[in-house]
Amino acid sequence: MIRRLVCIGGLVAGMSALGLSAGSRSTTAKTQQTVPANMEVKIDNFSFGPTTLTVPVGTTVTWTNRDDIPHTVVSTEGAFKSKVLDTDEKFAFTFNKPGSYSYFCSIHPKMTGKVVVQ
């Protein structure tokens, strides 16, 4: 029941994001996108993509390291912390509370990202 509600909520939000994109050709749609399914962040070339990811509560985000160098995914506020991810290794975290979660790679701290949970 709860899962279905989340799906519907996500669908509506997804449609509105599409509408915004079509109407204004705004680039903000890229970071405002809200999708119900589990989400992925790719680590490529020492950066997190997308840098900012907006998701509904309950979403599981999976990070995949596609670099030749190990990276980590560490919440600035201590909400989550991956082990070291070597090439092609993954880390997943489920966001059950709304909020803005900044994170970085503790090995290469110039690499930063954010998950916004709505």
């Binding site: 980590t72 070291v84 090439t87 290469h108």
Partner: protein
Amino acid sequence: MGENKKDELLHDHNHDGVDRRGFLKCMAWAGTGALCVMQGGVLKSYSMSQMSQMGGKAAAGELSFVQISDSHMGFNKAANPDVVGTLKAAVDKINGLSLPPEFILHTGDISHLSKPEEFDTVDQILKSATAKDVFFVPGEHDMLNDDGKQYFDRYGKGAKGAGWYSFEKKGVHFIGLVNVLNLKAGGLGSLGPEQLEWMKNDVKHLKHSTPIVVFAHIPLWSVYPEWGWGTEDSGQALAVLKKFGSVSVLNGHIHQTMQKVEGNVTFHTAASTAFPQPQPGKADSPGPMKVPAEQLKSLLGITDVNYVRGQHALAIVDSTLG
């Protein structure tokens, strides 16, 4: 030596401290072999071709040591599938030096993933070096997952705080610093107040004429902050060393040789023994640089350092593995 003037570079520290043309020329030599000698506050650089004509006098000091860096044991990607082989080649190069070094400095990223077997392999390979003492500082790859516990257990005996320490060799004061711990989001390498305070006390009793060698993993000068190639509080460390006439800073991390002279300080980064990284800003990211196999050894190397007492000189020579 008069006929060699055209290859000789002088950096006059009484002016702005950096002779840009001279600096660039010195950089151009880095990797193919350059000798930089500091004499009475004036840095002189010679090309390798001149060194042979100098009869080895300037190169033959009373203290000789070698710096190696970034062996990344455990790395097995396309940029170098044989980091064991290239570290062995570096040791062969060290063992073949005409002036045998008394010890080796390893400026971090000994391992790639902080695995015990990676450290074991490096220790095993370094045993075949004629220089028996090896002094380490950690790189970020040596402190993964356990905040450095394993590194401290292996290499931290006698070290202070998070692994920093100092020692004397033939009148030269060596300071090993740790700038890879407690890194903040968006930030650079970090020494932290506790280490800076220790350093201040460590050098307090030293004469101003004591040559200082500082070694740490991440550069203590701003090489390219956009890629994290710098240390946020390095300025405070250098301020502590301001009173000394001769300060040499040896770093790794950026997998390429680079040199800069600023006032009384000569900064130098060593090549990796594992894989090269791109020049600052010359690629999308600082990740491993893939080059044709036959070129790889020309981009890896060791750094040979000599101190000549009385001449107040530290000579730094980079040589490639192939």
